[in-house]
Symmetry: C2
Subunit: 193 residues, 2 copies
């Protein structure tokens, strides 16, 4: 293992630990010292990677936001509206299921919302929402389609991160979320002529 | 006007003013003094009705929670599952549209979430969620139906309170939210034999 991959592994373990502690105590209730203690390192070792707790919270959420952007970009390259919708929806649902701890935290903890909403603010956040809506509902969608996409987007993310489904296995949860999404978004495909 | 109806009118005007200021400045950023100033009364006059800002925030949200309970109770008395679902969904959507300022606040402001989640905590809140799910998906619903109800319930409430639809008139917003809800919940009705 090179020094750089060792550092990456430590950074990644630090973020996993931070997410676990954020879920247990909230972002506000978690200190850098608690993260260091849980990792079995000194606070100085944590400081080597991150100067503030907000930086850690941002780094915990960043890969998921980045992945969402990649899903949307990949969906845009698909040749038909139906294929674009399928790719965006299945990618979005897979991401929700994989990141449900983070989503559950986002849905319940003001601390992480504050940090994510800041790094997800306009223009980047607005742009991402607009691009997601465009992939799912087309350019300049009617109000009904825009609202449908809004309900799907937020409803799936909140239901997927809900603690009552924590014991449901990934495949089963993904199956049910996809079914709900398809039932709603199937209506958005251009009608056959 | 009797002294009691005058007091009720003042209390109600106080809550409207508080909601408006909460939306502009957040619950944390609003003081009793600001509410008094906006109403053109003294802080002592506000104290006559409410001792703390949390009490005001609770009172702002309470009628909506109470109305939601009434919608569910009324839906339970309907003779068929289809009629129960229709009543619960249309009542829920009408409530969302009527209270979209409050919902928008709930979706964006940690201060009001803290207060509502506390007064909406188990057993009352859990009970309300369970009763809503039972009306929409029946007793002991399968996982797929429970997730569908979850997506509808949260997706409609969040989309309905979203600032981007603030300029949409009530009838139009209600029409589109109902259409989305019916598309999903129509699947939950018992199949014809």
């Amino acid at each position: 293992m090179t020094a750089s991959t060792a550092a990456n592994a430590t950074r990644s373990r630090l973020l996993d630990t931070a997410l676990k502690l954020f879920c247990e105590h909230g972002v506000e209730g978690t200190s850098l010292q608690m993260i260091a203690d849980e990792l079995g390192v000194t606070k100085a070792a944590v400081y080597y990677y991150f100067k503030t707790k907000d930086e850690i919270a941002e780094a915990v959420a960043a890969p998921t936001l980045h992945e969402l952007e990649q899903i949307i970009e990949a969906a845009r390259t698909k040749p038909s509206r139906a294929a674009q919708i399928d790719h965006a929806l299945s990618g979005f649902v897979a991401l929700i299921v994989r990141q449900r701890l983070l989503l559950g935290l986002y849905n319940s903890d003001p601390g992480i919302r504050r940090v994510v909403n800041r790094s997800f603010a306009a223009p980047r956040g607005e742009d991402l929402r607009t691009r997601m809506r465009t992939v799912l509902a087309g350019d300049n969608p009617g109000l009904g389609d825009a609202i449908t996409v809004h309900v799907v987007f937020t409803g799936l993310a909140i239901a997927g991160g809900a603690p009552e489904y924590a014991s449901v296995d990934d495949d089963t949860l993904r199956h049910h979320l996809l079914a709900v999404g398809r039932r709603l978004l199937g209506e958005l495909r251009p009608k056959r002529r």
